[in-house]
């Protein structure tokens, strides 16, 4: 079943990747809704797939930004200390949170991100 989805999935990734590299974000804001609406994944599964797919995308972006000297390693170290711990907590919450709550939370975050893109 999933084989037929390889090309559409790559296309979804491509659009998410553009947002990721361009804006310095993960791209999950694009990936998750695409997986929910186009691939009909439950919200929880979409979040899990998105997070896993984000890692290689961010690596490409980080490589180019670092090449042009646009990474502050000390600040990155501080952020990482918190964020890796947070990621474990977040995933634990994800496995317990109800679908409807996940969906509403995500929609709010998407709306905020959209507003920020329109009014930087």
């Amino acid at each position: 079943m999933l084989q037929a989805r390889v090309l559409p999935a790559m296309l979804v990734g491509f659009v998410g990747g553009i947002a990721s590299g361009m804006l310095g974000v993960g791209g999950g804001i694009i990936l998750v809704p695409a997986l929910v609406f186009l691939f009909h994944l439950p919200q929880r599964d979409a979040n899990v797939v998105s997070l896993a797919a984000i890692a290689p995308m961010a690596a490409v972006g980080a490589f180019f930004f670092a090449g042009s000297g646009n990474v502050d390693t000390r600040v990155a170290a501080g952020l990482l200390t918190g964020s890796m711990l947070g990621a474990m907590v977040g995933v634990k919450l994800l496995t317990r949170a109800p679908e409807a709550l996940l969906r509403t939370l995500f929609a709010v975050v998407v709306a905020l991100a959209g507003l920020r893109m329109l009014f930087p």
Partner: protein
């Protein structure tokens, strides 16, 4: 970096990581403005640093997930493969091209997505399998 700045960075990271694991996002949309406003980074350095932080955060989140559930690796690999190509193009746009128009397109797209998620909920899925 002062002790206060380290504390700010770690706290910001904790918030971003939790959202990241919970919602499957990188969290850059919070990290980038957070670094610009709270830590005085330039926009480009904030974006580069954000991407750098997202890599291990997403890996840790994914490993945590993989320990408690089965993962649709084929779908993940497809999305990730397309994503790496898109990311290259996105960075090129960020560093060499004016990104105002694309930014507005993404912004409007996201508002539609948010509205649809909030006001037209999909039927509950039959099962959790992928």
């Amino acid at each position: 970096m002062s002790a206060a700045e380290i504390a700010i960075a770690v706290s910001l990271g904790l918030l971003v990581g939790t959202l990241s694991g919970l919602l499957g996002v990188g969290g850059g949309f919070i990290m980038v403005p957070g670094m610009v406003v709270l830590l005085g980074e330039t926009q480009h350095v904030a974006q580069g640093t954000s991407l750098m932080v997202i890599i291990p955060t997403a890996i840790v989140g994914t490993i945590t997930s993989a320990r408690v559930r089965s993962m649709p690796w084929r779908l993940i690999a497809s999305v990730g493969a397309g994503g790496t190509l898109g990311a290259g193009l996105g960075v090129y746009i960020a560093l060499h091209v004016s990104d105002g128009t694309l930014r507005r397109i993404f912004g409007i797209l996201l508002l539609f997505v948010a509205a649809r998620m909030l006001f037209r909920p999909r039927r509950q899925p039959m099962g959790e399998e992928i």
